[in-house]
């Protein structure tokens, strides 16, 4: 039987791409096939699901459990705040993971992970067993660390998880009075997306400059300095936004008052018309099921050759929840790279081989400073066997020399392309 006839007997054209065959493979349940459950369908989880199917050539069954029906991107969501994108632009379906790659996608929430029995309990559906599990839970907020914040995210939006919060903050900004004050609080590092708060300050200021030119933006940073792309953001604050943005370092937030929209800082007190607090954060609480110690009570340590949680073989963790390696940001791009590292290791381990001894990760992170111009930071990270961790490659990586329209085009293309890399 030649390839054409062979495929036709399956109802597939000879030009059918390999990925369509993968989708067909999974629809026929197979006894004894390895089963991996991926929890969380963000930049890390969705990429893991796709690459497990691709790199195992359909030999590993993959189930993705995600609590939202659709993917919403955090990267680019600061553009929504400035009215330069809609939330719809950032929203995508998981359908291609199902139809092209044969991933079983379950819209549900994980209630508990039983590591010993290799089982997940779900909130609405029957529990599922796994041979390996990949957790990509993102971050949860330590709301209790800011007095008065709990239960007040309607009055004081965080907009640090893209979705309804993004639209809520956009409406607040639009409704701000002429000459009003927008106060933005940055938590102590590490937090999700190091350059994100400073990009947000620039983009909100860009909007204010055009629509409410007498308004002010107070950037209240718990850190002692700008945490990413420092010189480039400092140039934007001192240049185009010098009459709007006031940057205040060492501004640890103690409490907020949701009625008066005031914020009590360690050395100061401010009142705002729009108060946007990015709360302190930690690994998604799902990791508490694993009963492992968290560094600073927040982040879980992994073996960088496989992304397995320390002392929990078969349980992989990727994305913002991971205790970062030196110089490694909590970014969507890094989550994509950790996803591939985990997927590659899982395929090798199921085949009884050793994982890649020198896993290498790349990060390229764009930020917009206005509607057209963007800047980047790039780093390359490689496993160092002697140190037992991943380290930045000396001499590699760097920053933009200046903000440019050319990088604005690359930033927009990055967002579309990385989405295709995980969901198409």
């Amino acid at each position: 039987m030649n390839r054409r006839r062979f495929l036709r007997s399956l109802g597939l054209a000879a030009t059918t791409p390999a990925s369509a065959i993968l989708a067909a493979c999974s629809s026929a349940p197979r006894r004894g096939a390895a089963h991996v459950v991926v929890v969380g369908g963000g930049y890390g989880g969705a990429t893991t699901a796709k690459y497990l199917r691709m790199w195992s050539a359909g030999r590993i069954d993959v189930t993705l459990v995600e609590r939202e029906a659709r993917f919403v991107s955090c990267p680019m969501s600061n553009l929504v705040l400035a009215g330069l994108r809609t939330l719809d632009d950032l929203t995508a379906s998981y359908d291609r993971l199902r139809t092209r790659w044969g991933v079983r996608v379950i819209n549900d929430e994980v209630a508990h992970i039983d590591v010993a029995r290799r089982k997940l309990r779900l909130a609405r559906n029957d529990g599922i067993g796994f041979d390996r599990v990949v957790l990509a839970p993102g971050v949860d907020f330590l709301t209790e660390q800011v007095a008065g914040l709990a239960g007040n995210f309607e009055r004081i939006p965080h907009a640090w998880k893209a979705g309804p919060q993004t639209e809520l903050l956009r409406r607040r900004i639009e409704a701000m009075p002429e000459g009003g004050v927008f106060a933005l609080h940055v938590p102590k590092s590490p937090y999700r997306c190091p350059p994100g708060p400073y990009e947000r300050a620039c983009l909100v200021a860009h909007y204010l400059r055009a629509r409410k030119p007498r308004a002010k933006l107070l950037l209240l940073d718990a850190n002692s300095e700008i945490q990413s792309k420092r010189a480039l953001f400092a140039a934007a604050f001192a240049g185009p936004y010098k009459d709007i943005i006031e940057y205040r370092p060492d501004s640890t937030l103690l409490s907020v008052d949701a009625q008066t929209l005031s914020a009590e800082l360690e050395f100061d007190r401010v009142r705002a018309d729009v108060l946007n607090v990015i709360p302190p954060m930690r690994a998604g609480r799902l990791v508490d099921s694993l009963d492992v110690p968290l560094t600073n009570g927040r982040w879980a340590d992994v073996d960088w050759r496989t992304m397995e949680v320390r002392d929990r073989p078969g349980v992989h963790l990727i994305g913002d929840a991971v205790l970062a390696a030196p110089g490694m940001p909590k970014s969507g791009h890094i989550a994509n790279q950790q996803a591939k590292l985990a997927a590659a290791a899982i395929v090798e381990l199921f085949d009884g081989r050793s994982p890649d001894p020198v896993p290498t990760l790349l990060n390229t992170c764009y930020s917009f400073v206005d509607d057209r111009n963007a800047i980047h930071v790039a780093t390359v990270h490689r496993y160092d066997a002697a140190e037992g961790t991943v380290l930045p490659v000396a001499g590699a990586g760097g920053l933009s020399s200046t903000a440019s329209e050319e990088e604005g085009h690359y930033a927009a293309a990055w967002a579309r392309n990385i989405r295709a890399d995980m969901l198409a």
Binding site: F6, I21, W55, T364, A396, S400, Y410
Partner: protein
């Protein structure tokens, strides 16, 4: 051969032919560093160039030109310095052999 058993055979075949040797596996993993930006599934037109399916020597020449500073770049000159000559060659060879769905559909 029934449809079902043919399908099972095909799945098995897909599996055995894709089991990667260590060197090929390492090359594939390195090339996956590139695809967040240079995804073969990226929509066209695109500000970021497609590289899958291009000839390996063309990809490698370009990567080396970024490293020597002979090709203008915003970020690529910073990225290529994170990889050895040998790694760049592995990446170029793997990308050249990668199918690009945009070309398949023509």
């Amino acid at each position: 051969m029934t449809g079902k058993s043919t399908l099972a055979a095909l799945c098995l075949l897909a599996g055995t032919t894709h089991a990667a040797a260590p060197a090929a596996m390492h090359a594939r993993n390195l090339a996956a560093n590139c695809t967040p930006c240079h995804s073969p599934d990226a929509p066209a037109p695109n500000a970021i160039p497609r590289i899958a399916s291009l000839p390996a020597d063309r990809i490698l020449q370009r990567l080396q030109a970024f490293r020597s500073g002979n090709a203008p770049a915003t970020v690529m000159h910073q990225i290529v310095r994170g990889y050895s000559d040998e790694q760049l060659a592995l990446i170029a060879t793997h990308l050249a052999a990668s199918p690009d769905p945009a070309f398949d559909q023509r």
